[in-house]
Symmetry: C2
Subunit: 342 residues, 2 copies
Amino acid sequence: MGGDFGPPVIVHGVELALKRMSGREVRFLLHGDETRIAAELAKYPAAKAASQIRHTAQVIAGDEKPAQALRRGKGSSMWNAVEAIRAGEADAAVSSGNTGALMAISKLILRMAGGLERPAIVASWPTLRGITALLDVGANIECDAAQLVEFAIMGEAFYCAVHGGPDCHPTVGLLNVGSEDQKGHEEVREAHRLLREGQIELNYHGFVEGNDIAKGTVDVVVTDGFTGNVALKTGEGLARFFVASLKEALGSSLTAKAGAMLAMGGLKKLRAKLEPPGGGPFLGLNGAVVKSHGGANARSFADAIKMAADLASSGYAGQIARNMDRLSIALKQAKEGVETAT
Amino acid sequence: MGGDFGPPVIVHGVELALKRMSGREVRFLLHGDETRIAAELAKYPAAKAASQIRHTAQVIAGDEKPAQALRRGKGSSMWNAVEAIRAGEADAAVSSGNTGALMAISKLILRMAGGLERPAIVASWPTLRGITALLDVGANIECDAAQLVEFAIMGEAFYCAVHGGPDCHPTVGLLNVGSEDQKGHEEVREAHRLLREGQIELNYHGFVEGNDIAKGTVDVVVTDGFTGNVALKTGEGLARFFVASLKEALGSSLTAKAGAMLAMGGLKKLRAKLEPPGGGPFLGLNGAVVKSHGGANARSFADAIKMAADLASSGYAGQIARNMDRLSIALKQAKEGVETAT
């Protein structure tokens, strides 16, 4: 029921995701208003065949505060989608509803995995070299050094689960305003020290800067949720600016228009490459929850579904479990470090 | 002598700037190695006619710390360029040397204007609606609410001096991760309250998000130097990614290549629009100092020169002076506010 458009986009997204994942057995529980969902399913035979409707009339509004959502959200479509993971009925949940509410409900129902403190939201960013995972992009506005180290470990596991192959050893960088050790504020300098000197078997590259994201200098870029959210949204705004400027440039004369017609195939590929990532998974929970953009269209909702399916069927949970040892060492070191520093 | 390329780019930049500002009387003092500068001036007659060389053999290295630069920098080319403003020999200084050193030397020699606490670096960002000024992009890694309010006032004055016309009332937004009052960390919430409720006659729009920068939602975007630096460099990286992806897309087939040939004129215009801003002025000083990119080419160094000339010949200093009253009220309010909050 979530997002700016509700069932029409969600159900269409299910249809597109099924086409994209043909050969894989994927089924859906659609939580929400039965009449509205059934009306949409009638238009999409593949989605209809793969889906069951779980009726509820209750929804969480886009402007509801997380605390309100926890108090009043039980039985809502969002709540039931996450609860289905805990109950073992579903392997993953996807929602384009209220982000804060989805985060609060997911934490309450699924709880954090292992020794992890807080979830992080990760965005997969197209780069000159492939994909870079950026986290946190909005769940944690202020982060201490220990949390940044947690993000590095979660980010590595996510990257291998969704974007990596076998023998995956992604490089990890810490976002800063320069590459020298003394740059940045205390939290990043302390996290840098821990990642470099700690007993964490991580392929740590060191500090990276904003331009390294699109350059693809590292596979995983770690930052606090304030900076990451600004970077992600700045990028989304720029992608839209680029597409609009390109259209203007190509419509500026008759010859340019003719050229654009000929170049159409290439330009379409470019446009697909510049689209903002479809899904931002919440990392660190006992279960795969993916937040899709509120303004997502069917294609980008399908991306979010595929991301959720990849996460759920991958070794992500196992990788996190295997990493628990070094994670707890890192956290212990981080905490000692922070206590020494403060 | 600064930047990755030294005199060849700087002197070529002077030549380009003179062409771009034809009709305006602009003259140059070129500080540095006389032999090397003279050799370059021999290639550019216009630059030669408009320039005097001020010889010094001393330079500040790119990796020198600000404190070192202050101790050992006297008599260097950078020092002399800033000192010429104080001595009344120059109206502005432009350098593509070590940013930290330039900032420290400028603060020491020129001092802060009026009641301002710290300088800020401002970047002028192309948007769907024109130009948006973003500050701070790197001078202040951590900022309290009072400083953010200062940036709003400096940014407004800068915008009117360089990008605005007569009757300039630019809109100002505060960068955050959402538009609701309770979003973000304490510093941005407190600055938001001051800008909205304080007796500051500013056209304050409220919170903006990363995507609002390229959208051009407001004329001036205010943020701390860490976030602003990451946003700016993320944007620079994406612009390069976009140009590279466009080239790839247009070279992907023979028809696409033919189309690109036809569309060349439009694409060239686009490329110019996507180039990163040439100069980042330091705001808040008694004098116009513009930092050009270390990797600047002659064209972008010429942009920085033009920016410096515009700042020096505009009413920027006067506007700051006229704003001193509301600035001191704002600062007083900000300080009381911060004390109440802590």
